[in-house]
Symmetry: C2
Subunit: 421 residues, 2 copies
Amino acid sequence: MNNDRVNASIITIGDELLIGQTIDTNSAWMAQELNKLGIWVKRRVAVGDVWDEIWNALDEESKQSQVILITGGLGPTADDITKPLMGSYFGGKMIVDEGALQNVKEIFEKYIKRPMLDVNLKQAEVPDVCTVIQNKRGTAPGMWFEKEGKVFVSMPGVPNEMKGMMTDYVLPRLPKMFALPAVVHRTLLTAGIGESYIADRIKDFEAALPQHIKLAYLPNFGMVRLRLTATGKDETEIIEEVDRLFIELQDQLQDVMVINEDKTLEEAIGILLAKKEKTVSTAESCTGGYISHLITSVPGSSGYFKGGIVSYDNTIKENVLGVDADTLDNYGAVSEETVSQMAMAARSIMKTDFALAVSGIMGPGGGTEEKPVGTVWIAVTGNKETVTRKFQTRYNRNRNIEVTAINALNMLRQSIINDEG
Amino acid sequence: MNNDRVNASIITIGDELLIGQTIDTNSAWMAQELNKLGIWVKRRVAVGDVWDEIWNALDEESKQSQVILITGGLGPTADDITKPLMGSYFGGKMIVDEGALQNVKEIFEKYIKRPMLDVNLKQAEVPDVCTVIQNKRGTAPGMWFEKEGKVFVSMPGVPNEMKGMMTDYVLPRLPKMFALPAVVHRTLLTAGIGESYIADRIKDFEAALPQHIKLAYLPNFGMVRLRLTATGKDETEIIEEVDRLFIELQDQLQDVMVINEDKTLEEAIGILLAKKEKTVSTAESCTGGYISHLITSVPGSSGYFKGGIVSYDNTIKENVLGVDADTLDNYGAVSEETVSQMAMAARSIMKTDFALAVSGIMGPGGGTEEKPVGTVWIAVTGNKETVTRKFQTRYNRNRNIEVTAINALNMLRQSIINDEG
């Protein structure tokens, strides 16, 4: 381990994290922001609203890290003990902070419009050994403590309030306290190839990476993101170095690379369609609208996505999409013939350049010996050809839907790329 | 603190958690499941793929808890060091597990259909001092260790694989190892009312709860789940007690209660539709298929959901749904008139008892002074009447889509209940 490295620990306080009531999204955001500054998050710890456990966490984490960021436990109710604890931990006594008091009063006058209670006034009290971080988005002030060259920051757990304090106050101050390295990330997305196959293909590349450049594999549902992270003293130098390696990596993975930016598959498709000025529509059976949801989750997707038909029931396939009753009878709803007709119908009805169609059995029910749960047919049609492919997924219902959506979107992406018209 | 209490620690391993690439959703799920058994999560710790840090975390957490659940670090790549570390920690040597080997081979033969690599074969290796937990959903086996009356379980970080092992193996075994109290939960789902308003309405009920019965608020996107948890020695006794309180709680929240079981809104709608033998279809603009995705994420939804039309572009509203060009011109796509026509068209085209339609501006672009981002119209039509309602949401694009879907589904639910036909 590099002894020059500045480490951070994140301590989250609150019973709601330990009973599974709240999913911790704060830590991921904080880690990303710290990484951009060249600070490495060494540990994240969640503890309950219990005096000894919080105290011990402060002791432990200050042995590991120079920056200790603490969220939660600053509310007005009795179970929120973080503030007196911090006062006691750093040997201060509680005083009223005039700025914080002003802030609480303003929030009540402007927004809450009810008389303040004693507990609300208490929110303006802070230990006299901290620097107060004013809260522009709530009533609980933040606190900045320094001890033996280490920084301890206590902030509310409300994401919006924490982010405000981090952005306005904490992140700008940390580089003044510590000598931080320059950090540069480069990310690419692959689809249709497993993590271990990628690792095998680029093992020489990976083995040859210098110590200060790391490669991370970030797999998710049939896609793998690869991220190169370079750390060094001279930013210009490491940008040059990491960009050279990034080009090499792209060359080695060209056939499976979706995009050489930190984007999702649906964002990559949006960029492609917008560039080529093409449009797309969908006809979904087993995915039930999930594919059109992914496409339309991208801002600006109305520029290239016209619409979709969720033909869950066979009557919709027949009456709305116009799939032949004979085709449905002879081959079934989950067949190459049916998805081809669905895709072509969607393209013609919605007047788009491309259309995709999916039909399959997502489970748990509906499987047969010939077509077990997980059998999926996908078709993508463009102005030149219709491509079809059969998949066999092997998960539970929700994951089968997710994997099928990724497979369909990846086929769409390939069709857009192959289309030269 | 109660010394009889069985504590758990959750250790999550992986650099991706410390660089903020992955939001940890596993821990919340695990905590909920452990709570159901009467096991309290005392601490959650996230550490990187670093030998000493994982080792120290095992040391520390085994001082705090009797159950130590570990996720992550079991992938086939070089940075995944958890398995050899666990072997070394518990003093074992690596051997090939025949069951795990069989599983890896099967997955490759059936699904991946490519030759196995050496790294894949290595996934079947485990320390000889553990009990192997076979992975039905992936290639990495789980490991169960016991030491000094404590249980250590190492599982993959992939949520689906972890959940499978927990459900099939870990959760059924823990009550055999430890003397756990009887724990009984009763959950109800509310919609359309905020957490603080519920708290205000039931404050007397809450204040009168005995010490051994806790009430948890679990809010999520316009819905709040309320969970009563009773802990005690005599199961029959606490069931009687909690059921009596649960009826009281339901009485107080009758007008906002969706269902008195631990179900989602879309599951509650499915139960209602199935019971009444009614069907539904959708016409979505701004939600882009997300509502039909939610409805079809419920197994068996093909029994009551016929299909949906995602009319993202106005040409689809006009040509597929048959909304009047005049209506679109005069009132705009986001209007009461347009969503009413969309809903009635969906109901008639797809021949269903009910249909819902949504049209709105989800942002970040597309807002005007008259119709700012977050403006949404929703219509639900049945065999008697069409109900319309305007909403104003105030979040980012993805959250606006989620909240709008919940609002639409809740309106649909009310229409189904009000329909006596």
